[in-house]
């Protein structure tokens, strides 16, 4: 099983990289972009076959290490 972890800055925390990318898109005349958020993706290959256990385990990994929950949110997708 694979876990795909998407980490981004919390809503309300200014995302300077997203702002810079948005500005660059504007200057390239790409229209209709309301907002840009830049995050990171971490892909984990897991031995676990039970989805619930895998989810609990990866959630703990996010809380302990993968995300800094003071400034970041995370989403976990199991595939």
């Amino acid at each position: 099983m694979k876990a795909i972890v998407n980490i981004s800055l919390k809503a309300g925390v200014l995302d300077s990289q997203g702002k810079a990318v948005h500005h660059a898109l504007d200057s390239l005349h790409f229209e209709g972009v309301d907002d840009v958020r830049v995050g990171k993706q971490i892909v984990l290959k897991l031995k676990e076959t039970d989805k619930d256990k895998a989810m609990a385990n990866v959630t703990q990994m996010c809380e302990d290490l993968l995300a800094n929950t003071v400034i970041e949110d995370y989403e976990i997708e199991l595939v």
């Binding site: 800055l9 200014l14 300077s16 990289q17 810079a20 290490l65 993968l66 800094n68 003071v70 400034i71």
Partner: protein
């Protein structure tokens, strides 16, 4: 006076820090991060600047799991004095020894220059030799120095005089190089024994090199 300085893979300010404290008359010891203990005669523990673990994942995120950090937490819990400079500040926030977090600079650039700082609270051993609202000139060198804390956390910091230093111009007017909340450059914990700042006082020890304002800051620790 014994100053213990932590060294992680990627730390690069341990020798500057050692030089600065020895210049002030302290004895020093550099301790590798694999150590599970810190010297018993430690009077001040410094988490020095640099790029621990190459800043991988987030600055300070991996260093917090180094074996020595358990001893650091215990030392701090028992009232031991801890100072985190630059990457050391990032390690202390990641470890939960100090509140908040350090984000990428708003301008996205690595900043390396002298910057003025205003003293906000001298009600602590670190800054007791400086008066409130005085201005010091200290180098900064960071990519992730944009201090963030939520509104409630910020209120708590002010309520307990935990905001130590803010970025300013030479007259003490606010000048924010990196987007930090309220231009905050350094804070301490509620108990006032754990200190963290992005600027490098250990690099401001000689007026011929631009500033010796770091002396007044680091000397505060030598009385303890």
């Amino acid at each position: 006076m014994k100053v213990t300085i932590l060294q992680f893979p990627g730390t690069n300010c341990e020798y500057d820090t050692q030089h600065a404290f020895e210049q002030l008359g302290a004895t020093t010891e550099i301790v590798w991060h694999k150590s599970e203990t810190i010297p018993e005669d430690t009077n001040l523990l410094v988490v020095a600047g640099g790029f621990s673990y190459g800043d991988y994942l987030r600055s300070g995120a991996i260093a917090k799991f180094s074996p020595v950090m358990k001893a650091v937490a215990k030392y701090a819990d028992n009232g031991g004095k801890v100072l985190g400079i630059c990457n050391g500040f990032q390690v202390l926030t990641e470890s939960g020894l100090l509140p908040g977090a350090l984000k990428r600079n708003d301008g996205l650039h690595f900043l390396s220059k002298h910057h003025h700082l205003k003293v906000i609270s001298n009600d602590n051993i670190f800054l007791e030799r400086l008066s409130n609202h005085s201005v010091v000139n200290i180098p900064i060198a960071h990519h992730d120095g944009n201090y963030y804390i939520d509104e409630d956390g910020l209120k708590d910091l002010y309520a307990n005089n935990q905001v130590l230093l803010t970025y300013s111009d030479e007259n003490g007017n606010t000048k924010n190089p990196n987007g930090s909340v309220d231009s905050i450059a350094g804070i301490c914990n509620k108990e006032k024994n754990v200190f963290g700042l992005m600027p490098h006082p250990e690099r401001a020890m000689e007026s011929i090199l631009g500033s010796d304002d770091g002396i007044k800051m680091l000397q505060g620790f030598l009385n303890t």
